[in-house]
Subunit: 316 residues, 2 copies
């Protein structure tokens, strides 16, 4: 025989509050309603839950013990309500975030760390990919959002793109690199150094090809390839090799690594680094939070980058 959990919860409150009337109050129900629920429960189990003929209603031994179980049920139920609320407010949940490797590793991951320290119950599943894969992930529901560089004109119809930062690539090198001491850098200067290549299927790699071509060369010497950001940084700071990177990545990495940027403008399509999501789809609330958080963080990041730019101009 299955008991009604609701009945047990009511019982728990009555016993806790010390009386049917007070219990009804605490439950926000009318006294007769509660009374009848208990009568029904007693009828079901065929035993008394309360000592008969006692006016401040006192539980029997059985009533007492069932009330305890009712209390367990009650607290589980309350926790469930709480959980729902937190999910809806985005304080809990799962967020599947996809993005391009270098940018995720160099910029987003520290922001995710910040985000999680404020929303400790949001579980983030990160994955890597480029535009096509990420879009597919969004479409088939295995991703909640994607962070990637994108020409605003190419945003798929059913998706929304929130730009976060201009997609500005630079040529990076170790601090103190010989080229940083030159005033005017020439083709020949650059030609003396090898390149660290980003993954060969990445847009960054194509950017590198394009940039080199724009400088007037068809090929370039690759001294290191196939690594993720961590390896690239190690090679970069430990050698005179050059690489191409989003400026934001260099900017942030400079806080802990000795890096520098060559004063050379690189041509590439007008892209924005931003957040891509499915448009109509009802998004998890945590996504909204995450999106707002990223927007704010990138706003700050931009300010800091602009500020540094001012300083650099003043200096030279």
């Amino acid at each position: 025989m299955k008991l009604d959990s609701e009945h047990l919860e009511i019982l728990a409150v009555i016993v806790e509050k010390g009386g049917l009337t007070e219990g009804a109050d605490a439950l926000g129900k009318s006294q007769p309603s509660v009374s009848r629920s208990m009568a029904l429960l007693e009828k079901r189990i065929g035993s008394a839950l309360f000592e008969p003929g006692r006016r401040p209603l006192r539980p029997t031994e059985l009533g007492q013990r069932l009330a305890k179980l009712g209390g367990q049920i009650r607290s589980a139920n309350q926790e469930a309500s709480l959980l729902v609320r937190r999910f809806q407010q985005g304080h809990a949940g799962r967020l599947r975030v996809g993005g391009t490797q270098i940018f995720m590793d160099g910029v987003i991951s520290t922001m995710i760390a910040d985000f999680q320290s404020r929303h400790d119950d949001v579980q983030i599943e990160q994955s890597y990919g480029y535009m096509d894969g990420l879009a597919a992930g969004l479409r088939n529901g295995t991703l909640d959002c994607a962070i990637l560089p994108m020409p605003p004109a190419q945003v798929p119809a059913e998706m929304t793109f929130v730009p976060l930062l201009p997609g500005h690539n630079v040529i990076a090198c170790r601090a103190g690199h010989p080229l940083t001491r030159r005033k005017g850098i020439t083709l020949a200067d650059i030609d003396n150094y090898t390149w660290i290549a980003p993954p060969s299927d990445s847009p960054l790699f194509r950017d590198l090809q394009r940039a080199v071509k724009a400088i007037g060369r068809d090929d370039f010497r690759v001294s290191f390839s196939g690594g993720t950001l961590a390896s690239i940084m190690s090679v970069l700071t430990g050698s005179d090799a050059l690489t191409i990177m989003p400026y934001s990545v260099v900017f942030l990495a400079r806080r802990s690594l000795a890096l520098d940027v060559l004063p050379l403008r690189i041509e590439h399509p007008d892209r924005q680094l931003g957040l891509l999501t499915m448009t109509g789809q009802q998004a998890p609330a945590a996504l909204k939070r995450f999106s707002e958080f990223l927007t704010a963080e990138f706003h700050r990041l931009r300010n800091r980058m602009d500020h540094e730019l001012q300083m650099a101009r003043r200096r030279g």
Copy 2:
């Protein structure tokens, strides 16, 4: 917002079984019923519990977590059902047993120990009293049963008395007492020894008075009084004092103490030691068990006492 515990339980089963249809089966409900319950829950919380457009229904992150809480509720509920069943079968519960001191201490307490070793969840609250107090306790519901000597004719109308043993008192002394070596014991013989008096308000004390009077004396010397069974036994075995006691108490005590019984018949009203309960009242199931248990135990006790009587007759 309060969620329906029933819904959470259903969710738990669905998630556990891996599908709505299987879950409905496991719950013994129809598939549409379960489907609608989930639809209702989703509507209430305003979020999806299952990934949309997945045929073997798969829970969302929120659904997964709520299901876990539903599982907790479910197991508490099941435990409640179990508890009720055990109560009804008398394997659990509380039994308030009252009785006369000497008899409770000397006979019933060991039986209670036996009973509890078989019904480990029955909690026994023992109290002492004599007829009037015990009857009052039964009437006002502070006692579930009483164990006491009673003349069958005096059983109150609203109560039921189950005789367990003839209320046969004897004069006890230490083993090896001088009187046990005599063939015919005379008044004068007894007069040489002092008495250990049972509590002065006990029927046993009145029995002692009556017995002494029947022998032809009006008074008797009391060397010890006011003790419970344990003290009485100590004094009895450590001195030549005599006392009056139910034979059953002496019989059982002899297993571990050096006691003997004087071959003197004591006159007293025709009483039965037995179990007194309220008649109509719906008794706790544990009481029925206890009553049956006592009946069986006393049956065995009687057989053993009879057997010893046979042996004693044969010997002398």
